[in-house]
Amino acid sequence: MAKQYVSATINGEQSEFLCETQQSMLDVLRDVIGLTGAKEGCGSGDCGACSIILDGRLVCSCLMLGVEANGTTITTIEGIAQGDKLHPIQQKFLEHAALQCGFCTPGLIVATKALLDENPNPTETEARYWLAGNLCRCTGYDKVIRAVMDAAAVMRGEAA
């Protein structure tokens, strides 16, 4: 079976790649394109470590074939910061120490970005339900939620 040709916009740049049919988008990101920020935790859509934003929707890149990316627009963790300047979500994750080992962090930050794009002023309950598919073994989630709520306030211009 010949490799599949795929063309997609990834983090604002036109990207072309060849992949095997059975390769997941996560495998393509990590092994073909070299974007290793998205992590493989479970490979079955349970942990959220591989979260990406696909055509404006938060999805698990492990539950998507690389070939399905053809013609789509994708944001990965590598596309969140503006050059050398951290995104407010990243800054607040640092300030609140919302990570320990950091394995879940790219997924949590991408998932938070998708949340705040859709709902700039979530309640804590809304944030917790939205992030229920992002598992973290270290933080106990409390610091994550504090970082998310603080980042939301900063992005609304209500906090620094």
């Binding site: 698990c60 539950l63 998507m64 074939l65 992002n134």
Partner: protein
């Protein structure tokens, strides 16, 4: 090396030809949230994947003759964000809102949830209760199938090899109609139903039920449509006697298994309790007393 082929046809005819012409195992791909997991675990080894998402009309929601038509591959999150569906079919919306995570809801589809044919699928009892019609396409053309005739056993459907679902038609909603769905799990999120229950009702001006459909998930090899339980509701308000009879009918319909999520006795008991609660929410919504989320 894998011999897996992939095609993303842009017409129903092309998709049907690909499915009909496949010599090995051909699988229809919508959101992929079940299919990819099954492929990865080695449970399924397809030779051909037919990605239906490029077929016109298979993604999207439209109103037609007073009812809603939902494209078979429409992501759950899109249905959840639709104002008209939230108003007319809050039970179906809240069922989709319980599937997996935000990430899964960004991909998963009604057709995938139905055709994966898990007895514990969350949107399926809600679809059964809604009386949804699946528009099935195949080599012999188009046919309309009540959704309860699609799953036949765990992982099996009544669809032929060359058939797939193009869209779902939801019936026109009479005045004072609504629905609800509840799922019981031992935690708050990210689990599979111990029991799921969907109920849709229509009331008259006096609050008496004139039409009902009752469905249970995770208590039998397939999701069940309970004609007996629905008949108990029709002609009654939701008084104590009717609730008790509904509870008994729900329990009587259960043929569950013992597994790590619950015993036969537990599932049976919970089915009765959920039927009572779901009926109460559906009646309240139909009477205009509450439009809030059930969970």
């Amino acid at each position: 090396m894998s011999n897996l082929s992939y095609a993303a046809p842009t017409s129903v005819d092309d998709a049907v030809k690909l499915l009909a012409g496949s010599s090995g195992l051909a699988k229809v791909l919508s959101g992929g949230t079940d299919l990819l997991v099954q492929m990865r675990s080695g449970r399924l080894k397809p030779d051909l994947i037919v990605d239906t998402k490029k077929i016109p009309g298979i993604i999207g929601i439209r109103e037609e003759n007073g009812g809603f038509v939902i494209g078979a591959g429409t992501a759950g999150a899109v249905v959840e964000a639709h104002a008209g569906l939230n108003k007319a079919w809050p039970g179906l919306v809240e069922a989709l809102d319980l599937i997996g995570s935000t990430q899964v809801q960004g991909r998963c589809s009604l057709a995938g949830n139905l055709c994966n044919a898990s007895p514990a699928a969350d949107s399926v009892p809600a679809l059964f209760a809604a009386g949804a019609i699946a528009v099935v396409v195949g080599s012999k053309g188009k046919r309309e199938v009540p959704v309860e005739q699609i799953p036949t056993a765990p992982g099996r459907t009544s669809l032929a090899k060359d058939e797939f679902i193009l869209e779902f038609k939801l019936p026109v909603r009479p005045a004072r109609s609504s629905d609800a769905y509840l799922r019981f799990i031992p935690r708050t999120e990210m689990d599979i139903a111990v029991v799921g229950c969907g109920i849709s009702v229509t009331l008259n001006e006096a609050g008496v039920c004139t039409a009902a459909r009752v469905s249970l998930g995770a208590v039998a090899p397939t999701v069940l449509l309970l004609a007996d339980a629905a008949a108990i509701l029709v002609g009654h308000t939701l008084d104590a006697d009717t609730l008790a009879k509904l509870d008994a009918a729900a329990q009587a319909a259960c043929k569950p298994i013992n597994d790590k999520r619950g015993t036969i006795e537990y599932r049976t008991k919970v089915a009765g309790v959920l039927a009572r609660r779901v009926a109460a929410i559906a009646f309240d919504r139909a009477a205009g007393k509450s439009t809030g989320k059930a969970h």
